[in-house]
Symmetry: D2
């Protein structure tokens, strides 16, 4: 048994922490000001920092293995690194490790044709373009993939797409050039898991409208954003099909594991930073004649915050480790546990940190409200908690009642 | 024992509900569009609706007694009416019942000189101007009033004010013409509760800068907003003193009871509406082959939501009733209970409703995220929960350990 | 609106509190010692106190209306009185107000024939005998009444009963002379709610075995106890049928409302006493140089405890009031809310009081662990919380999604 | 990073699981019956099983290192083994791994003189006698060791002891021959942590009275029990002093780490078994036309139970691992985290399992209520949660606000 990161990972942690200190934290305000100028364009500071990170080899750390730009880190190796990136909402992109591009790159790497990889995976790995994943629909409970209604109809050498999507994260960004779109090619197939396909739609295809950005808890998350999309007779060539007709559900299953666990890692980083800010805050404020940090209830709260974070960290690490050992599919139980517990406990920790900051904690002067928003929407990303609990509960009962 | 509202209140409930249905809900989108045009000016629709409400006598319902525009309702009478108003974030103002003006009007009514009442209370009661209350400071834990640092220095016939405030709710609105400002006239007074005074500062006084609006959980709450203020040698006449030098703490104590309980009433309305939306939602969505409303875990959640709301409603009513019977000060224990429990439980209910709406629940398409923001910041308004718990716990121990 | 008890109820509260102080609290130890001698016989002190209470008119206060020994109190009148009784686990019986006899007396009063009332209701009202209600079965989920398996087979002028029951509360007591037993007379009836009947079985019927007492959380609750029963060809006359064949489900529905709400009232009394003990405790202990009562986290806990109790009290009162106004059936939603929330919140309050007592709080030196046991098993009595949540959630969704 | 136990530990897990299946579970009822005969004597079955376990080398697994009977397992190695033992309340003793003997053996091993080790440690390691640790006093908040009032007065070659203790776990057992007793030898020492000493008191010393057993949540935990003790002029030779006068606090600090973490390990085993029983239960019961295991709310509950257990397991393992790497004292933060979270979350899991068992879950027919009692009292053993939270919070603030 060994909980310590490998020497290489420890070295990367130090390097990342130094990069954060030198380049990211000092530019948080600059980032805000630049996106205030141009909401849906990557701010210049982001591009500058990407170059710096890439030059240091802090690039594509998320990609397992050695192919496709991977630098040979396992998921468990990546966890403490992603945690550091999670301390600033937009930092992961600096290292080309941001959602949904990481998940999309994995899709291209696993399921893309050589041509598709050349056309889309390569520029993504270089950080030149961004991508989006359009799965959720406003009209149906999309966590049940069989509900998906968007139509992908074959027509000669083309497919014709009609329907609506929303919460296509990243799609507002002008640099987002390619959308992976889930829809139904065969809505009447008797096997409900073979009705779906995933296709590639370029941003500039006629008939594709980026309707509007969507806020979450009041946040717009510029420049990536969450977009609503409309597809009106959007025509794409058949070569834009991923993997093959009827395999959309299979791709969706394969994609979700790493995405979920990456969110968990970053939420932990956000919660840890919230705890650090809270500790500094309570150590500097006086109320009713005593420093807040000397008051019993504050100490109890801090103890619970630290304990919850540590439990989240260990659970996420354990899930990542199981993915590394037995594969994403076999690790679904632990991925589900992390997905259920980490955003929930992370929200609680951040909420406590807000409370310790008084009204200021609610504002954009601190990163707390934004961090809360992130942890909160993670409870809905990739399906609401309840869906994961149902699946996990079913599996646990099956195994333990045998 | 009788839990039912009086016939008069029941009639007002019906009238208010009808007004909401005919005038408020249909204009929620209009309101959004108009404030998007001019953020810090009351949108025309608001003024139109105010006239309509006033014409129907749905006006100043909050004011206890019959003087000062009061229509003779008790706090307990007002509770179910304020709950209805709480169903739309900006609705209370339509009936001239919005914070912080209600609390400020009570301050003028109780503590204002005849001249101050003529100058400020009358136009406030007519809804012609708005007001703000500047108590919280960015640099200190302001829930402990003895921490307040803003200086009010006597200088001849004037006072000269220097310092900073923030979270002056409503102060962004151009119609906000008068600020009630808490500061220290005698910072060295041996009795720490006699150091403070409250003075009136007109919006256009030289040296008063409205620095910026502050968001809470990503929301700006236009057109009222929460403002940061700077006072640089702001000079006011001595007649702008409220009640007398050294009586600022006393005014603060007297002001806070009704304000707190009004927030609770409106949070209950917001939570009730969230529950209704959730019920409609789960009854219209299908996942995994079954309506959400037929799934056991959804039913359990709804049962808890409804139970929590009912408990909040009763607790708030009980506090209001105690205020009516024995006065605000004697009712401090029940006011504190409501202040502690209602925003917390209300947040939980709204959070569950968001979860039942999927990602859409996080957006501005529904009122849920905004309602969550309201319940959340109520946990900090008038001091963080912890301050009220400390005071209540102290009192309960004293009474029960005797 | 009026939250205050009527003058008559206030007078009864004073009288009851005095009785508790003079007769009950001083005999808690005596009671323990006497039941330690003879576990399943009412201890002499209980009989002595019953006489004293009856002499004061503190008798059968639970019975609504004026018939059948009722003294004209409504359910809402009774709530604050039952709360006082709940402060000592066995006190309700002193006033002939203990479960399950109260519910059983209501069953006899509502559904019993004149002969059955004369034979059983009269001595129960006089406190001369005790009764039990045998519904739950060890082999099936009995909260779903259609699962009941005990067989009641007609055979000439008799019924013959076979089957098992458990958690027949009170049945261990030798004074318990009559059992109301739920079973199936027509297990094949197409309407699953007409299969059941309820019959009367005298304690001494051949074939009825009182198998053993059952503990809950380590407590045996002598002398009443929870019994397991076996029925082997127990023969009873047809006149022992209650109301009529096939009407067992109907009786069960009618019985449960008051029983549930009485438990809530008493749990509130137990929680309130726990809070009082906790306040006295923290005010007398010193740790780390300070009285516990001066520590912030203790004050916060006490504030939450007091707030939860007050919410429970109001919810229970509200449910009782609705029963009084519109009947038990129409009040099912509020009864369910109270049944769900009160034992849960009561458990939390008592658990906190235990924690404040240190290890001693777990022992029988204090009433806390026993009180926890009571609140805990109330979460299962009359069906687990989950069953009530499901029913309530279903009703709320139906009403609010219309 | 590596979460998997070593091959040797995996082999021990298999061996222990087999032993549990073959020897422990089949004898749970036998054990109950035998202790019912003779409450405070080790039942014969226990002695039989101890021999069997020892013969298999499943003995003293808890002892770190190779000296003093240790078989070379680290704390992290021991964690999954102790978890298995925790599945039956009395099982740890079969393997000579039960509290408080484990902690006491460590005290003898670390702090005992050669003579003390020969006299007491050896028979303890052979399982021939039992021991108790007398620290808690009924009259003071004993989690603050400076409150201890028991007097140890030097008198010639002897010490004379006067005072009271309670919650001396294991002291009821007749096999318990030696008590380690904390008291004050120098109550006026200016350094409040040098006032205390720990001495050895043999069971048969005149003046030592074992006053009575104490129950926790209704459980007596025969044959070990929790005892109240009275010391009336108990005279012991000076050679019964441990380590030296004034070093009692130092010993207490050194003893508590492993004891706390062992409790956590066993609570996890109890919670895991509760989850398994719950899964089997819900898979075999039908309510409202469907197996419980197919109901959404049950699945959600099971998912939460499994997730909480996994988090507890990882946190405990992490704490054990830190103890192994940097020593008990440096690992105090993680030990505190485990001590705070595991009994709390374990209680929640077991409580849910009880609820899924219906009323039966409260009885002694299942191990659930007893398991709840164990998890519950662990929240008070070695000081209430609050004391650990205070210390941990203080440390975290100091580290993170630096």
């Amino acid at each position: 048994m060994d909980f310590e990161p490998s020497p290489r990972v420890q070295q990367l942690q130090q390097q990342l922490n130094r990069f954060m200190k030198e380049h990211i934290y000092p530019n948080e305000q600059v980032f805000k000001e630049q996106v205030a100028q141009q909401r849906w364009t990557a701010p210049p500071i982001l591009e500058t920092l990407k170059e710096a990170a890439r030059a240091q080899g802090l690039w594509n750390l998320f990609m397992p293995g050695h192919e496709h730009g991977g630098c040979g880190l396992s998921n468990a190796d990546y966890a403490p690194l992603a945690e550091i990136m999670g301390r600033v909402f937009w930092a992961a992109e600096v290292f080309n490790c941001s959602a949904p591009d990481t998940g999309n790159m994995e899709v291209f790497a696993r399921y893309g044709s050589a041509e598709q990889q050349a056309r889309w995976l390569q520029p993504l790995l270089r950080g030149e373009i961004r991508s989006a994943y359009a799965m959720t629909e406003p009209g149906v409970a999309s966590s049940d993939a069989t509900n998906v209604e968007l139509s992908i109809r074959a027509d000669g050498d083309s497919y014709v797409i009609n329907g609506r999507k929303w919460f296509a994260t990243g799609a507002m960004n002008e640099a987002c050039k390619i959308f992976i779109v889930m829809g139904k090619t065969d809505p009447d197939h008797p096997n409900r898991h073979l009705q779906q396909s995933q296709v590639l739609v370029e941003r500039d295809r006629p008939g594709l409208t980026i309707v509007r950005p969507l806020s979450t808890m009041g946040y717009w998350e510029e420049p990536s954003g969450h977009a609503e999309l409309r597809f009106d007779n959007v025509r794409i060539p058949k070569s834009n099909m991923l993997l093959g007709e009827g395999r959309g559900f299979e791709i969706a299953q394969g994609r979700l594991g790493p995405g979920r666990i990456h969110h968990c890692m970053r939420v932990i980083g956000a919660a840890q930073r919230a705890l650090e800010l809270a500790c500094q805050r309570v150590n500097s404020r006086v109320a009713f004649g005593k420093k807040l940090s000397e008051q019993g209830s504050v100490r109890e709260s801090v103890a619970l915050m630290a304990s919850k974070i540590e439990m989240c960290r260990l659970l996420t690490l354990r899930a990542a480790d199981k993915m590394d050992r037995v594969g994403n599919k076999q690790a679904m139980d632990l991925i589900a546990m992390a997905k259920i517990m980490v955003p929930q406990l992370g929200s609680e920790v951040i909420d406590m940190a807000i409370q310790m900051h008084g009204a200021g904690g609610l504002t954009k002067d601190y990163f707390l409200a934004e961090a809360f928003n992130y942890a909160r929407w993670c409870r809905l990303a990739d399906g609401p908690d309840q869906v994961h609990m149902m699946a996990l509960g079913k599996q646990v009962i099956r195994e333990l009642s045998a």
